[in-house]
């Protein structure tokens, strides 16, 4: 009766696969903006370094979410079962979503290099 028992991956894995990249992106944007705005207006010196560290961490997180999604996709096994198809869908969805978020985070890191002299 309980559908939880039947899925080949844990619910938390599934959630990370569906939302991991998005959350990493959110943290990256809000974090980078907060560091820049509060840091520069507040007169803090290490703004660029801090943003680069944050970027690296969030790129890793989004990349990890992509890998986990690939794992979910594999763990779904042959798609001959309703749940397997659903999980495989989540995996495929996660791979592309997290990959795109990784690209966006990378794009959001680019500006830092234009402000290194500041």
């Amino acid at each position: 009766m309980n559908p939880r028992d039947r899925l080949p991956v844990s619910r938390w894995t599934l959630r990370f696969c569906l939302l991991g990249g998005g959350i990493a992106w959110t943290l990256h944007l809000v974090g980078a903006w907060a560091i820049a705005e509060f840091g520069i207006l507040g007169g803090f010196a290490g703004v660029n370094t801090l943003i680069l560290v944050l970027s690296a961490a969030m790129l890793l997180a989004a990349g990890a979410a992509t890998l986990v999604s690939a794992h979910v996709r594999r763990a779904a096994g042959p798609e001959n079962h309703e749940d397997a198809r659903t999980v495989a869908f989540c995996g495929r969805f996660g791979i592309v979503t997290n990959a795109v978020f990784t690209v966006i985070i990378a794009a959001q890191t680019v500006p830092v290099f234009y402000f290194l002299d500041q």
């Binding site: 795109v100 690209v103 794009a107 680019v110 500006p111 234009y114």
Partner: protein, 358 residues
């Protein structure tokens, strides 16, 4: 217009530069010489245009725009053509569901992900590069501009000079303009020279302008600031360095003259000055060297040479000045200045006094 013809430039008299130079009350050699220069450099009209640029900064932005325009127009045509083909095309005979799905996915990945990513990454890099090119060290002549509802207070702190609704700058040199606001948020925008920067009551901002050549452009408040947002304009006049210095010297001389308080040049001016204080004009408008020192309305110390009245509402002619004094609400509804009922003689005296403030 005569003056221009006399200066011997064989350029047909056209455009606002001529109109400006031909105004009878703006005398002096400074302006005659500049008018000629303006004609050669200034586009007839489009004095408030982001595409008719007169500075490196606005030129860079215009270049960025044209680049984006070309790339995105081609992309637009490409997408529309694809749509057209998509709905007109006949189905292929060999379309099987599996190959179709594979083809569709590839189509979306290349067309919908790779192609936009490439275009947008280029835009991001060009944007950041342009931003970097536009960054200017804050060095040069300092000017302070404060936005009021609905006019501009303009000060040259290094020269103890206060004017309003017009900014004179030396051409070819950077000027650092510190921006602020007295009441609500305004925005400083001279599109021919640069993009806009907002002006806040609680947060100082700054823009560095550098006009490539002498000329005269129109600026405008770009942030909605209340009833008369539409008529919160100003003029930017770029003069060659020596003329700019002469302009500064003329203003300093005019102020010194007021302080020295010689007998008025005419009876009318003397009467006008009395009317100015009798009608309480001084409770809002400062005039250097007189008891009028409360800054609610624009500083009138150099009103006589002002280009416009009501922050770009009308040209500063004697008739318009009189109109403005008796009916400011009709010309610019909602502004703070009350109507001042005067008979014709008093009005002409007051105008004579104000015109003497050069």
């Amino acid at each position: 217009m005569k003056r221009v013809a006399k200066s011997g430039m064989g350029v047909p008299p056209m455009g606002s530069a001529v109109a400006w130079a031909s105004r009878p009350w703006i005398g002096g050699r400074t302006f005659a010489a500049t008018a000629a220069l303006l004609l050669t450099g200034c586009h007839p009209g489009h004095r408030q245009s982001a595409l008719h640029t007169a500075a490196e900064a606005s030129g860079e932005i215009a270049r960025l725009w044209w680049a984006m325009f070309i790339v995105l127009t081609l992309s637009f045509i490409f997408v529309m053509a694809l749509t057209w083909i998509a709905i007109r095309r006949r189905p292929r005979a060999d379309d099987s569901p599996t190959t179709t799905v594979r083809w569709q996915n590839r189509f979306v990945i290349f067309g919908g992900i790779a192609f936009p990513t490439a275009v947008l990454t280029w835009m991001l890099l060009d944007s950041l590069g342009t931003s970097r090119a536009l960054r200017q060290p804050p060095e040069g002549l300092r000017i302070e501009v404060v936005g009021y509802q609905w006019w501009w207070d303009v000060r040259y702190p290094e020269h103890d000079l206060a004017i309003a609704n017009e900014i004179y700058i030396p051409a070819g040199e950077p000027v650092v303009i510190d921006l602020g606001a007295a009441d609500v948020i305004h925005s400083f925008w001279v599109p021919n020279l640069h993009g806009k920067v907002d002006m806040f009551p609680d947060y100082p901002t700054r823009i560095v302008l550098r006009a490539d050549r002498p000329g005269r452009w129109r600026g405008q408040c770009a942030e909605f600031c209340g009833r008369q947002h539409a008529w919160m304009a100003f003029e930017v006049v770029a003069l060659p360095r020596e003329e700019f210095d002469a302009w500064l010297a003329e203003r300093a001389a005019a102020r010194a003259a007021i302080t020295a308080a010689p007998p008025p040049a005419s009876e009318a001016i003397a009467r006008g000055k009395d009317i100015f204080f009798r009608e309480s004009c001084h409770t809002c408008h400062p005039v250097h060297g007189t008891p009028a020192d409360s800054l609610i309305g624009p500083d009138l110390t150099h009103l006589g040479t002002r280009l416009t009245l009501g922050a770009g509402r009308i040209a500063n002619t004697d008739e318009n000045l009189a109109r403005w004094i008796i009916d400011p609400q009709g010309l610019k509804p909602g502004n703070l200045m009350p109507e001042t009922p005067l008979d014709d003689a008093e009005l002409s005296d007051l105008v004579a006094y104000l015109r003497s403030l050069r």
